[in-house]
Amino acid sequence: MLQGWIQIALILVTVIILTPLLGKYIARVFLHKTTLLDPIFGPIDRAIMRTIGIYEPEGMSGWQYIQAVLVSNIVMGIAVFLILFLQPILPFNPSQVGGLSWDLVLHTTISFLTNTDQQHYSGETTLSYSSQVFALGFLMFTSAATGLAVGIAFIRGLTGRSLGNFYQDLMQSITRILLPISFMGTLVLIAAGIPETWLGAAQVTTLEGATQAIARGPVAHFEMIKQLGENGGGFFGINSAHPFENSNGLTNFIETVAMVVIPASLIYTYGLFMGNLRQAWLVYGIVLVFFIPLVIMTAWGESQGNGQVNTLLGSMAPNLEGKEIRFGWSASSLWAIVTTATMCGAVNAMHDSLMPIGGFSTLLNLFLQIVWGGQGTGTAYLFIFLILAVFLTGLMVGRTPEFLGRKIEKAEVILASVILLIHPIAVLIPTAVTLLLPEDLRGISNPGFHGLSQIVYEYTSAAANNGSGFEGLGDGTLWWNLSASVSMLLGRYVPIVALILLADGMKLKQIVPMTDGTLRTDTGLFTGVTGVVILILGVLTFLPVLVLGPIAEAFQLSSGL
């Protein structure tokens, strides 16, 4: 029991120690200061930039930045769509997998393009190596880099800097951050036994003499960027529960830390951009105050097991349904919270089998989107909540509310509100529509409160660009592919546009000097207020769903019905 808690603590401490180190490095990269990697990647950067016709990267205006994000994403999306669609006639298909339906291709493309990585298929039996590596592996880098670039452009604008050049940011996110870290991580994963091969499935003869095909492939590098870029789309259908994706305690440790390290460090990076590390650590504190109780609640729930099962057993046993024994309740619980908090979406245990309190916690993460949050965007959302908290409470000090010395006015409230609004729109409306559909279209495997959780989880995971599934849902259908795609697109691009426009507007505002009449945002009091605002705006929106889903289920379980 104690060992499990120590495992959790060890990972948390590692992340907190890494935060200032990586945070400083990311800030150096995006403040265009020299880094150790410049001699290697500098020439490559320049060569790539020249190829696309950029000789001297210039700062972009808000709409230029948005245009660059959208155009580059559309181009990448079309390319990946074609690779996936033409899979049967493309090379690197040793296992001879066939073609995919257009709606699955569309869903998969959008899913990886939006950093969601929701999968309505099993990788090992559905995709060829070229689809996995050149289509999805490629998007894993670029979608993560897009998020990072937007997150950086956002803080640049808030602090009065030029938004920067999207293409340069995109490339440097990859060459200075994602590529080097995943390269090192991949080497460790390979050493720990994760395969990296272009050979097809291994044909082995089992002890009983039967022939078995064991799927394998270029997994190790795919796995690392999947975790680091908060992508979460597994090479194999069962994701990181598969021994070839996540073979032992060491790989599990690395993969857990990799999920959370960039969003955690990015808060520190924001602090450096603002020149106010105190503010950054306080924001970090808000996240921890949400994160740690959720981990403890979930881990406690899993360690106590299912009361009804325990009664039958006559003793207390942890809930191990849907878990890998090599990870146990603690590493699985921590992973479940980290993966939903960071919008990674990789799983090493089935969330469908979590105790209701775990289901509640994972859903809550997806509703809030700021407990670490998505690559780049999560930290930006945190600051959106700060802005909303400033606006709500700032009036109470008798002045037009200000954040970082800039006035929060109509335009900022509208744009922040758009981000606040899009989540319930992209989650609740499709949920309601699905529930109105005839029964056979819904694909619910487990009717009742749990079935509701399944549907809500699917759309929330899509809209939050998380990608994990509650599983158990028959989601490989036309309806699910298309409706989830809409949620993913809304949840990704609408906030990105709003973030960039907000940053662009803030950039030009005149700084109001700090006086005693200015509401300080880097105080414990204001941080507490922000926490409550996040709870009220984030949770109250989804409370009815939470009540009718996991909470009702918890009461149902405890009452023994």
Binding site: T393, L395, K410, L421, F449, L452, V512, D516, T541, I551
Partner: protein, 695 residues
Amino acid sequence: MNSQITTLQSEPPRSPDRKGRQVSTKGLYQRAVKQAFLKLDPRVQLRNPVMFLVWIGTIVTALVTVNPNLFGNATDKNPMVFNGLITLILLFTLLFANFAEAVAEGRGKAQADSLRATKSDSIARKLSPNGSIQEVSSTALRKGDLIKVIAGDVIPADGEVTEGLASVDESAITGESAPVLKQPGTDIASSVTGGTRILSDELVIRVTADPGKGFIDRMIALVEGAERSKTPNEIALTVLLAVLTQVFLIVIATLLPIAQYAQSPVSVAVLIALLVALIPTTIGGLLSAIGIAGMDRVAQFNVIATSGRAVEACGDISTLILDKTGTITLGNRLAEEFIPVNGHSLKELAQVALNASIFDETPEGKSIVILAEKLGASLTIDRSVAIGLEFSARTRMSGTDLPNNIEVRKGAVDAVKGFVRSRSGKIPDELDTQYESVSRLGGTPLAVCQNNDIYGVIYLKDIIKPGIKERFDQLRRMGIRTVMLTGDNRITASVIAAEAGVDDFVAEATPEDKIEVIRAEQAKGKLVAMTGDGTNDAPALAQANVGVAMNSGTQAAKEAANMVDLDSDPTKLIDIVTIGKQLLITRGALTTFSIANDIAKYFAIIPAIFAGAGIGQLNVMGLASMQSAVLSALIYNALIIPALIPLALKGVKFRPLTANQLLSRNILVYGLGGVVAPFIAIKIIDIAVTAVGLA
């Protein structure tokens, strides 16, 4: 009414007759009740997104009251009674919100009526270019027309005196009963306001505003709320309220199928009740009342604001630019001490000073005479044979020419020096030392001479207004910097600045310097407020973010300013700043309260309506039944609006604290209070509702 504002004033309160107009509130509430019903018109409701939703909700619940099976077979107990009660409570929610607005408007109207009483249509004597007089209605006057007014007339329009000299009774607008002398040319005294009465003689006035465009008209429009356009903060808040409403609309609309699926169907009436409970009706219903009341408060303070935006901007002011004279110090300096030089005795100096001041009618001059007489000097010469010389800006001296070619003078030290030199007198070194020592004390030194002999220095002391230092301390705590402008020399200015406790000062300032100071502050991102009265203040008033012109000031100054103080009291700028802040705080506090209430309402309604889903244990408040829980939450939601009307109209009590102190205080009261209060109130209402047997 003014108690909130006067907490800041350490000065004795102004005499009652100056404390704004007492407006009649007779019949105000009856009229407001009538208005509350008239405002149910959808075209009125459409302007307030939150209340418009309640309006639509009321209609839908009314429909299910008539036919409970309209949207599906009713499962509630006594659906007609229950839905009927919900409809009734929703209707009252609307009426309460309308009532709040109507009361605020009614008070504004009363304020406007008392202003309008001064504005009755009158006959004006219009001067034609050929000099003939034509009688026209005052409403037919246009800007640029010349009119003639004679004793007893009400001046028909705002204007500038071009000819004549007359005393005018301005008590109708200022409350000040002493008549004011008006004459052309002089900056201050040449402007007249429509609605005031000329008491003696006659004046020719050039009309400076078309009828309906004068200050009074603008004020009437503002306090009536007719011309009220939303201020920037109000607009941003409207957006936020609309967003919250939108979020909850989506939540509730999608809850219908979700609850259906979870085997806990909820009736449409209950869903509408939940929606209304969750959307921010409290602040939505009171928002416009807060804004109107804010304007009304400004008006009660006898200040005319040209827009709500200007009042709101006051809250953001971070620098106040204040003239020394009249604002920081009492207008008049008084003789404090005589300091003889050149070997003269004190008594000799007193005598010369007395002689030099016998024709000086200014308060300074009179105080010199009093001090000299106290020191034993007396009037020995015959006034009829002496000639008084008035102070002029060119000579900067005044004095008396006595018989026998004796010339006595008093004035600015270098001016007197020049006078003595021109009569080949000697300047004692002592003079400069005394000059400096008086300056260092913060006084104004006047040199006194008789012919070419300098007798000494009069120490004129500036009297700092009592309590002003404390007010500057309060402003500093609120993060507002004060800058004093004065024509005095640096040394004097620095002493007075230190004594009054201002943060900065500009010495030897000309009116043109004002605009420079304002620009410099604005370049640092600060919002600047200032007062002014002269024509040469006009550019600075226009440049300042908040410019308050004195009513006694020139028409040009009033045009350039965005507020006019009818009492011509420059200290009021500080009060206006607090009114602006109070307005924002009230809005913020009620918004926070309204949103914090949602937690309790959720806890009241959700466990009750989903009791079927086995979550009865979440009913932490122990409410009696589903129906009583819904009704209690709704009744609370409706009653909280009238309960908060006094606060909305009066404004949250303003305290001069730093932003962080204010935040912790207000969060405690309105945030935490907003979380806790409804839990208690809903529980009490639930007990009452159950006892009465409503549910």
